[in-house]
Symmetry: C2
Subunit: 190 residues, 2 copies
C-alpha cells in the first residue's frame, strides 16, 4: 500500500485497523445518512458502504476513498447500536449462547475517475452463555453503546466470544485480507 | 476479575490481551526452559504452560500465576520461531494458501495451595496465497522473528489471514473466553 487511502468513517476501530497494517490514510468522515432498510443484510451494508465512499469522493479532487458499514444479524434480524442500557441488555441476552452473523460492506471509489469496487464479507460469531453479574458489569462500561449488536470483540467483550468462523477483522469493522485484494484491483487501474 | 493475576510471561501480546479485557495483573517472567518435544501438540503446550506457571509460583508466597505457551502446527509439524529471514520465508511459503492449527496451553497455579487448573485450545487458521513482493516486504519488518510460525495476526500479517475457525485471541496468545472460565474455577476455590 503505497498510496494514501481516504477513510470515509469516523470509527476509531477502523482507524486502529488501518494503523495496525501500516497503511497510509487520512480520515474524512462522510455526511451520508445510513439506511437501515434493504432487501437483505448484504444489500444493506453494500449500499451504506458505497453511499459513504461516494459522498466523500464527490467532495475531493483525487484519491481512493474507503467506505464501510458493519451490522450484526441474529436469526435474520438486524441489531443496530443500542440506544440505552435496557436495549443493550436485551441484545446481549439474545446473542448469548448462540451464533450470529456480522456483515461488513466495503467500497473503494476513485474520486478522479469514479471507478468503484465493493464487496461484502460475513463472519459467524459464537457468544458463550453470560452470567448475570458479568453482563451487568459490561453494561456499566461505555463499550456497548456505540457498537452494532451492543458489544466490542476488540474490547472487554473478547471474553464473551468463544469462537468465530471467518475473518476476525471483519467483526471489528474491516475485512482486512479482502480489503487488501480490492486495493490491489484499484492499483491495477492506474 | 477482582484479584491480581501474576503473568508468568514476557510476551507483549499476552500483556496487551490482559490489558484489553481490563484485568489486574503483574508481569513476572519465568525462567522455565521450554521443551520442544512431547507426544503431541496438546501435551507440548500444556507441559510448557504448567512449567512456566509452577516455576513462578515456587518463588512467590501468594497469588494465582498464569502460564501459557503457543505453537503453530502445519501438516503435523510444529513451527517454532524462525531463526532468520530464510527460515521465516520458508515457513510463510509453507503456510500460504492452506489451513494450519494454533495451539495455546494455559495453566493457573495457586502458589499458596499448589492447586492447578489447565487447558488447551486449538484454532484453525487459513492464510491466503502470498505475492512474492508482499512476502519480502513482510520479511523486512521485525514482525516474523519473535513469533511461532513467523507471523503476527495482530500485526501486519492480518492481511494474510482470510479466515479462522475457533478463538481469535488463542492465535494471539491467550484463549480469553476459556481463560475467564478457568479463572472462575480458581475464584471458587477460596
Amino acid at each position: 500500500m503505497k498510496n494514501t487511502i481516504i477513510l470515509a468513517s469516523n470509527s476509531p476501530r477502523r482507524r486502529d485497523l488501518l494503523q495496525q497494517i501500516g497503511w497510509n490514510f487520512i480520515v474524512c468522515p462522510s455526511k451520508f445518512e445510513e439506511s437501515s432498510t434493504a432487501s437483505d443484510p448484504q444489500a444493506l451494508v453494500l449500499q451504506n458502504a458505497l453511499g459513504k465512499a461516494r459522498d466523500v469522493a464527490a467532495h475531493i479532487e483525487q484519491g481512493i476513498v474507503l467506505g464501510a458499514d458493519t451490522i450484526v444479524v441474529h436469526n435474520g434480524a438486524v441489531l443496530s447500536k443500542p440506544a440505552n442500557k435496557d436495549e443493550a441488555r436485551s441484545m446481549l441476552q439474545q446473542l448469548a449462547g448462540d451464533w450470529h452473523e456480522v456483515y461488513t460492506g466495503v467500497a473503494l471509489v476513485d474520486s478522479l475517475t469514479g471507478r468503484e469496487v465493493s464487496d461484502v464479507v460475513c463472519t459467524r460469531v459464537h457468544m458463550r452463555q453470560l452470567g448475570a453479574q458479568e453482563l451487568e458489569d459490561y453494561l456499566n462500561t461505555d463499550e456497548p453503546y456505540d457498537k452494532a449488536g451492543g458489544y466490542g470483540i476488540q474490547g472487554k467483550a473478547a471474553v464473551f466470544v468463544d469462537r468465530i468462523d471467518g475473518c476476525y477483522f471483519n467483526v471489528v469493522g474491516l475485512p482486512l485480507s479482502r480489503l487488501a485484494k480490492l486495493v490491489q484491483q484499484c492499483a491495477a487501474w492506474s
